[in-house]
Amino acid sequence: MLILQCPYCGIQCDETELAPGGQAHLKRHGPGSSDEDFEAYLFDRDNPMGVHFERWRHANGCGKWFLAARCTTTLEVFGTYSAQTTEPPAEIADRIRARRPNWEGRT
């Protein structure tokens, strides 16, 4: 069972209270972009064993989107943060490095 803290209401949300939104920090390639970029934006997704960044929505609560950093193998949660960011905040990255010294950062 995955438990994430909603950064907006501070509730420790059970997974069933949330709606998943897939991979976080995607860069949108829209009109005018190359076919390769657009295809990658639509279909290319990471599927790591380890540190992963995801979008979640507190669907049965405040209704806000937020981002979460977690480990896909152990379900360890490194932290949740605002969706209005293009990169994980430094404190989240530090926490991940403290727990996963071999983590190479977001690729």
Binding site: C9, G10, C13, D14, N60, G61, K64
Partner: protein
């Protein structure tokens, strides 16, 4: 004009340790806006007599209450007959300030779960820590009731009030009744 009715016409059931009943008509006004805005806080205080609630809080003053629903949303509980005038007053007082005020009284259903097993009834349906240490009066909690969204609070007497969408009132009452049918487990 036709009479206003609650969703289930006041349905009720009595279990061994808790009772579930649909409450009478309750005025509910949804207010969205920037909660940090001083004008908005002053208008809410003026209309309801309540200060703006902090995160997940609920403030009560007489027969009105204001509950925090999300970082930009409040729920104003007022007497049913006053919901319309409350919306009108809000719209008038907040002219020029970004906001959205809607009378949602007839779009919601309200249940009361009373008795010493009230917390247990809800704990069987919601992924929420309902122990007295974690959840007490003055908090508005939005969560999931079995398969539908709901919001609830508890008063000093231990009675839980639960709000859900009117369209799922039958489902919510069924789920609450089923949970209230068996005896206590005393795990809370």
């Amino acid at each position: 004009m036709s009479d206003a009715m609650t969703a289930l016409n006041g349905a009720s059931m009595q279990g061994p340790v808790a009772a579930v009943r649909e409450a009478a008509l309750q005025g509910m006004v949804l207010l969205r806006g920037d909660l940090a805005d001083e004008t908005l806080a002053a208008v809410v205080k003026d209309l309801t007599g309540c200060d703006l609630p902090g995160q997940r809080e609920m403030v009560q003053a007489g027969n009105t209450a204001v509950a925090w629903m999300s970082p930009d949303e409040l729920l104003l509980l007022v007497p049913y007959e006053e919901a319309g005038t409350t919306v009108a007053s809000l719209s008038q007082a907040l002219e020029g300030v970004y906001h959205l005020a809607v009378d949602v009284s007839d779009a919601r259903a309200l249940f009361r779960i009373s008795g010493e097993g009230a917390r247990e009834v809800l704990a069987r349906l919601c992924p929420v820590d309902l122990s007295p240490a974690a959840f007490g009066p003055g908090e508005m909690r939005r969560s999931r009731l079995a398969q539908v969204p709901a919001a609830f609070w508890i008063d000093e007497t231990g009675t839980i009030s639960l709000v859900c969408f009117r369209s799922v009132a039958g489902y919510a009452f069924g789920a609450l009744s089923a949970a209230a049918e068996s005896g206590p487990v005393n795990f809370l």
